[in-house]
Amino acid sequence: MRTSVVVIGAGQTGLAVSYFLSERDIEHVILERGSVGQSWRSERWDSLRLLTPNSQSRLPGHVYDGNDPDGFMTMTEVVGFLDDYARRIAAPVRSGVTVTSVRRRGSAYQVGTDDGTWDADAVVIATGACNTPRIPAVAEGLPDDVVQVTPADYRNPDLLPEGGVLVVGASASGAQIASEVQRSGRQVTLAVGEHVRVPRTYRGRDLMWWMEVTGRLDERYDDVDDIVRARHLPSTQLVGTPERVSLDLNTLTAEGVRLAGRLAAVTNGRAQFSGSLRNVAKLADLKERRLLEFFDEWAVEAGLDGALGPVERYEPTRIEDEPPLSADFAADGIRSVVWATGYLADHSFVDIDVLDRKGQLKHDGGVVTASPGLYRIGLPVLRRRKSTFIHGAGDDARDITEHLAGYLASVAVDEAECAVG
């Protein structure tokens, strides 16, 4: 089979790319191993709602048009939103096709799948950034009878065994899961490394509203001070609930969660936690404060100061005098571990020399320069800070498609010249 462009993955980024390809009349297919929005269907837990408000459920040519712009979609609603989008833009999705290899063939590409092979001039990888839950090496030391889950397979507290739960990681996933597991009656110990603390609402507006209007999320990858750091930043401690509650270490402590430092080792049936809890909490408090000051300054400059609620500052993170340095799985009754330690993108199907020593794709703003005609979309800060957000897919997809169209035109010229010569 032949087409001009193969797009791999029918999530928000693959669909947004399809929108711009169609706009340019570029022939393409989207190969999707499941159905549209598969990650939202099968890799999220039951209670999860988006942490971006409905007003930010925006894709090129498709916006949320319900009557609750400040609400947060359930997973069923997100899937419905993406399904509607795919239908509306008549995206050429081939469902149930898993890509198993991407190879170069001369100046073109051959895409191998479990349902035949596609030849194409260009390939856009839109397979998501959260393919493989990252599990730290210390997991190897866990006692055999301790149940391990990741946010990709965790569904709800009832599926965990009775008894204590160690949640490792205090970003959005870890903090949300720690909270609901604690509320289900299980004692949670939360191992806290570096994290990003933010309030749900500030001065009467949603945090994500602030992030967007201040231009923070539009910052480009080539303007960011420290891109390595920006691309590895943990997700913000946010939860989307109808009550618009904030989720931080203080609210978790109030619910009864026990805070510990980063999980540093597991030996002889004991977890050992780092003694750095106080500092990671301090760093998060200071950074939250700096962010709020930045918002306040912006509000004054934008002439909005009077229109917003009063300036707020929050209580510093409370850390007990001597946080636990270890926990004994058997003696302390910890029966399961939730690894909320982040995700990795999987590029193992790419059979081209474009991966770095850690298996991550080398790219310049989504353009895989070492292999002309190959593109990636949907990685953290790929082109902008908003690259992995639903409302960030559009701008990146437009840029990538523009570059891709230029590339296709240049190959077409080359071929024409060959034919003449």
């Binding site: 540093a264 080792a265 003694g275 750095s276 500092n279 301090k282 760093l283 700096r290 020593r357």
Partner: protein, 187 residues
């Protein structure tokens, strides 16, 4: 948010930033081995020597060889020829954090005028005496108290100290477990 560094704390941040860039592409060169030797003198009095280390793919040497003597105090019934080994841990922690503060300040364009720290480690010596199996040998708490005079707000100074902890080797060594292998041969 780029700040143009106007401060001069004497730290060569350009070399540090250059090394970060170069070594990210050449990870083998980033593998360092630090080394000290120790020799028993008498009773609990010993002497350590530091001269060479390995890094950037080759053996390296300090400009001068340094020696450090250690002993135990009279409260332990010893001669107190020098400070105790655990005090060297405090020395290392303070040195690492203060050096880090200078480097971070330089990078952030903050001029330091004075940086002073008191580093304290609490220890229940029933542990090392073997008198109570529930008491650990090492510190049960370490406190570092900084007094800093610099051209920056209190909050920015707090952020300096927090960032220095985040990047400190000795802070990491003290707060996290490390596998230690001790081998011996008969001389």
């Amino acid at each position: 948010m780029t700040t143009t560094p106007t401060a001069n704390n004497g730290v060569n941040t350009e070399v540090l930033l250059g090394a970060r860039k170069a070594l990210a592409d050449e990870p083998a060169g980033a593998q360092f081995t630090w080394r000290a030797t120790n020799e028993w003198l008498h009773a609990t009095h010993t002497k350590a020597t530091v001269k060479s280390y390995f890094g950037l793919g080759a053996e390296q040497g300090h400009k001068v060889e340094s020696t450090f003597e250690m002993d135990h105090p009279e409260t332990f019934g010893e001669e107190d020829n020098a400070v105790t080994p655990v005090e060297y841990v405090l020395v290392g922690l303070g040195g690492c954090l203060s050096g880090g503060i200078a480097a971070v300040a330089q990078n952030r364009g903050i001029q330091l005028r004075s940086v002073k720290a008191t580093i304290e480690g609490d220890m229940d010596i029933l542990g090392i005496l073997g008198a109570d199996p529930d008491v650990r040998n090492g510190f049960n708490n370490v406190r570092v108290n900084y007094e800093i005079d610099a051209d920056a707000s209190e909050e920015d100074i707090e952020a300096l100290v927090a960032q220095s902890q985040k990047r400190s080797a000795v802070f990491d060594i003290v707060t996290n477990p490390t596998n230690v292998t001790v081998s011996v041969t008969k001389a």
